[in-house]
């Protein structure tokens, strides 16, 4: 059943600085949702709350499927994933980095190998399979992050500034991957970017965050 998200009136502050003010957001449709806004406006904080990595000070974040609310347990956390701007590369091969999400779910190598090869091909990194992931360039590292998230087939994929620290050529490659994701498997992609042009190129639904508040563009 399709996973939906409803965020109502969440507030969050760090050391007295208000990061989110009464934020609300909901969706239950496939597609690419792009949240744009200037640096430091609260997009990353909002994503961390939505991906259940952090709790809001007040307000509610609910996931639902088929009209019923779902408990926020490990099972739900494994149906969504968040790709951070700095992805956190494990000091091992590209293959083992991608296998991580499957290994912790108890999936054996024989079963996971085909999935990993497919996702490597999807992000154009089959030739880097046995390379230590820490030796990848910034653009390749970002593609590795997407591959690592995609292989676990999340129903909702949060991408936090996926092209923030990479060059124009790699940005185009990543944008192409994001657009092709819709056909790869039925994941809903919710991403942030501070680049308005990029937001327009990718978004099925565009939202703007300003001073901790979200509004439709």
């Amino acid at each position: 059943m399709k996973l939906g998200l409803s965020v109502s009136n969440i507030w969050k502050s760090y050391n007295g600085n208000q990061a989110l003010k009464n934020c609300s957001f909901s969706f239950n449709d496939d597609g690419i949702y792009v949240l744009t806004g200037s640096n430091g406006c609260g997009k990353s904080t909002f994503f961390r709350m939505c991906a259940l990595i952090e709790l809001p000070d007040s307000g509610d974040i609910s996931y639902f499927s088929n009209g019923k609310m779902i408990q926020k347990d490990l099972e739900l956390k494994r149906r969504i994933t968040l790709l951070l701007p700095k992805i956190g590369v494990f000091n091992t091969t590209v293959f083992k980095n991608i296998a991580y999400g499957l290994t912790i779910r108890g999936i054996k190598r024989a079963e996971s190998e085909e999935k990993i090869n497919k996702v490597l091909e999807f992000v154009h990194m089959s030739h880097k399979k046995n390379q230590n992931a820490l030796t990848l360039s910034s653009g390749e590292t970002q593609r590795l992050g997407i591959a690592r998230a995609l292989v676990i087939e999340p129903e909702i994929l949060f991408l936090d500034e996926p092209t923030a620290s990479i060059d124009q050529k790699n940005t185009e490659i990543i944008e192409d991957i994001i657009l092709r994701m819709k056909n790869y498997h039925k994941a809903t992609v919710i991403m942030t970017t501070h680049d308005m042009q990029q937001a327009r190129r990718l978004a099925d639904y565009l939202m703007v965050m300003n001073n901790g508040l979200i509004s439709a563009a």
Partner: protein, 235 residues
């Protein structure tokens, strides 16, 4: 100068001919230090991991204590273990004084803070983003901890090797609790001290050369591990 050269030549002859006494001393040294290191690692690595991963009251005090104990003077440890194991001491009934077991105990006390403290440092040096990445990919808190420990594996190995270096070169503590009994508790470092006192430089030099070779092997291993562990920074 001539007697020194003569000593070196005789030392190499002892090594080349695999002298039985020399071999016995080397094997006992490796056995005592290896056992002490094994015990230190079995206790020290999990202890270092827990201190590195968990926040609990008194954690800062334990870290300070471990760092202090890293520089424990071996003779003080020897004295402490001696008092524990001597006939009138609390563990005197075990009859362990002047046995290889007493030497293992003393070396374990010396190596444990090094292994635990360096292991803790290796774990806290892992970029916090690794733990966050594990969580975003669906790891349980236990799986997250294992992932961080795996990322620190080269540092943990370095901590074990550093512990081995410390106990192999140690002489004060094992001299006090082992007694330097020929064929029973005589190890490389205590033999070097004794034979030098006697003016019998051949065996002392032969053992000195072997100790240097062991030290070279340990440091080469450390260098290789550190090189492998620093492939590149997280992006």
């Amino acid at each position: 100068m001539n007697s020194m050269m003569e000593g070196f030549l005789k030392a190499f002859s002892l090594i080349y001919n695999l002298d039985r006494e020399l071999l016995g001393i080397i094997l006992l040294s490796l056995k005592v230090s290896g056992t002490a290191l094994f015990i230190s690692s079995v206790i020290g690595v999990p202890a270092g991991a827990v201190i590195g991963l968990k926040k609990f009251p008194g954690r800062g005090f334990i870290i300070t204590l471990l760092n202090t104990f890293m520089g424990l003077p071996p003779v003080v440890v020897g004295l402490f273990v001696y008092l524990l194991l001597s006939r009138s001491g609390p563990l005197g009934f075990m009859g362990l004084l002047y046995t290889p077991s007493a030497m293992v105990a003393a070396q374990t006390i010396l190596a444990l803070p090094i292994v635990a403290s360096l292991c803790h440092s290796a774990i806290v040096a892992v970029d916090p983003i690794i733990g966050q990445a594990a969580i975003t990919l669906g790891a349980t808190p236990y799986q997250k901890a294992i992932t961080i420990i795996k990322e620190a594996r080269y540092g943990i190995l370095s901590s074990i090797i550093a512990g081995f270096g410390r106990v192999m070169a140690e002489v004060g503590a094992i001299l006090i609790v082992g007694g330097n009994i020929a064929g029973y508790t005589r190890v490389m470092t205590t033999t070097i001290a004794l034979e030098t006192d006697k003016g019998n430089f051949e065996l002392a030099l032969a053992l000195g050369v072997i100790l240097l070779i062991i030290s070279l092997v340990i440091n080469s291993a450390l260098h290789l591990i550190q090189k492998k562990g620093t492939v590149g920074a997280n992006k």
